[in-house]
Amino acid sequence: MKWIAAAALAAMLALLPSFAGDFYVNLGSQILIAAIFALSLNLLVGYGGMTSLGHASYLGAAAYISALLTSRYGFGHGPAAIISIAGTIAMAAFFGVIALRASGLGFLMITLALSQVLWGLAYRMSGVTNGDNGIAGLTRPTPFGISLDSPASFYWFALIVASFACLMMAIFVSSSFGSSLKGVRDQPRRMAALGFNPWMIRWITFVYAGFWGGVSGLLYVYYNKYIHPSSLSTTSSAEALLGVIAGGSGTLGGPAVGAALVLLLKNYASAYIERWNMLLGLVFLFIVLVMPTGIVPGLSKLVAALRRGPR
């Protein structure tokens, strides 16, 4: 039953461009990108117990580096992608050292502050980043000579990357390192007494999450062919965090569902209601009240309860 559902979902995802219009295919691409981003944030929030409000830094940094290298310095997409991912990893390694001096609220505030620094730089260093105008006129890469300019081809490209990302992160959290990570989340003191190095475990996870945040940033800039400081903003970090919490932090499917929900609300509701943010807030309020652990854990509990039947 589970496998049939999974296969049906996979088939639907793969065949989406054959039955849906361009609008929906593009929406699908955006959801896939947001899902990678939310999953990478979930490594920190859900599995590491490190609630970050600055995860957009990694998305934005990778996007900006790639945009600058390809548009201004004449780099090809391949080298630009490698450099921007390497740069993002280096940045995450450095930010991790600073942020992991604290935990809990302190950690959250440091990640927020660091991302605000980057956002400020993107806004003010207009000589480099073009400031509020953003960097426009970017191109999409052509992997193996295949153009990604049509909605369908980009969607499939994003689907392949997202599937791979999801698989890699699933392996990461279920590995023995993942067990160490969850242990450090729940009982850091005990884990240290058992021989684990809590700081190093958190730092490695921080860098790994930064890496996948960078990958989603590359897809983001390829998709939009444009980058603006707002992608580095706290709103961008907070939206992802809301998605993770609403979908179910510490689960594999939850963040993807949450990210999809945010994007759908944004795209649909904004067409009908001017103050769509209010609707977003109400929906989150509803989720937090009715399913405090998130949509995915909430629904699976509901399904289990329905299967048991009335008592």
Partner: protein, 251 residues
């Protein structure tokens, strides 16, 4: 570098810890031989658990030294001390409540293995880990609950899981912080025989209030009061000592 040799498994030299102006441990010195069974007693607030926290590295000392088998580990983090052969249990149960008993004990084993850094295979890939964890659970009489989450088992069983996690690591020095606290009489005698069966390769240092049980297990006793060592020595000598009666036994 050859490791320095020592006649003692654990040495504590002039260890001090103060919280603000409140001195909790003051100039505590202990020397415990390999294989020894040491009981640490004292009234509430005497600094027993603080002393354990300083030995395990959970708490930084203001001054003084901790040596394990002659090596000065005072500057070592708790996890480095664990790799040096030091294990402990906690007075307040700190287990991974959502995980199974087997997973809890496996984590104890994993902590000392390089595979804890490995990011590909799940824990279940290491069948030897599983076998060892189940063997240890069997030793503490909890094998039948191996696949139950910790949150579902009784308090006395949790205390035994605490013990199993530490024992699985085959420590050279084991610190037990009130292993009998809150147990029923039956559970008490179970845990007692469990502690008695710990091999002599492991040096055991135990904080315990239940004198009837604990004294049977101990060879040497240290009495702490207001963060100082009051009496220290052979069990019978310490019990017979007038100061022990005055400070602790109250008879």
């Amino acid at each position: 570098m050859t490791p320095p040799t020592s006649d003692f498994a654990l040495e504590v030299v002039n260890l001090k810890k103060a919280f603000g102006g409140l001195a909790v441990t003051q100039n505590i010195s202990l020397a415990i031989r390999p294989g020894e069974r040491r009981l640490i007693i004292g009234p509430n607030g005497a600094g027993k658990t603080t002393l354990f926290n300083q030995i395990s590295g959970d708490m930084r000392s203001n001054s003084g030294e901790v040596r394990l088998f002659g090596t000065n580990v005072t500057q070592f983090t708790p996890y480095r001390r664990a790799h040096f052969g030091l294990s402990r249990t906690y007075q307040i149960i700190t287990l991974f409540s959502g995980d199974t008993l087997e997973h809890n004990v496996s984590l104890g084993l994993l902590g000392l293995r390089p595979s804890r850094w490995q990011m590909w295979w799940p824990l279940s890939h290491y069948t030897d880990l599983e076998t060892e964890a189940r063997r240890t659970l069997d030793a503490v009489g909890l094998l039948h609950l191996a696949n139950h989450p910790v949150s579902e088992i009784a308090y006395g069983e949790k205390r035994r899981v605490e013990l199993a996690m530490a024992l699985a690591q085959k420590p050279r020095v084991l610190l037990l912080d009130e292993p009998l606290a809150g147990l029923s009489n039956t559970e008490r005698s179970q845990v007692k025989s469990l502690i008695a069966s710990i091999p002599r390769q492991t040096t055991v240092i135990m904080i315990e209030h239940d004198m009837d049980t604990a004294l049977d297990l101990a060879e040497t006793v240290t009495l702490l009061n207001y963060g100082r060592v009051i009496v220290d020595g052979n069990r019978d000598a310490v019990i017979a000592d007038e100061r022990t009666r005055e400070v602790y036994l109250g008879v």
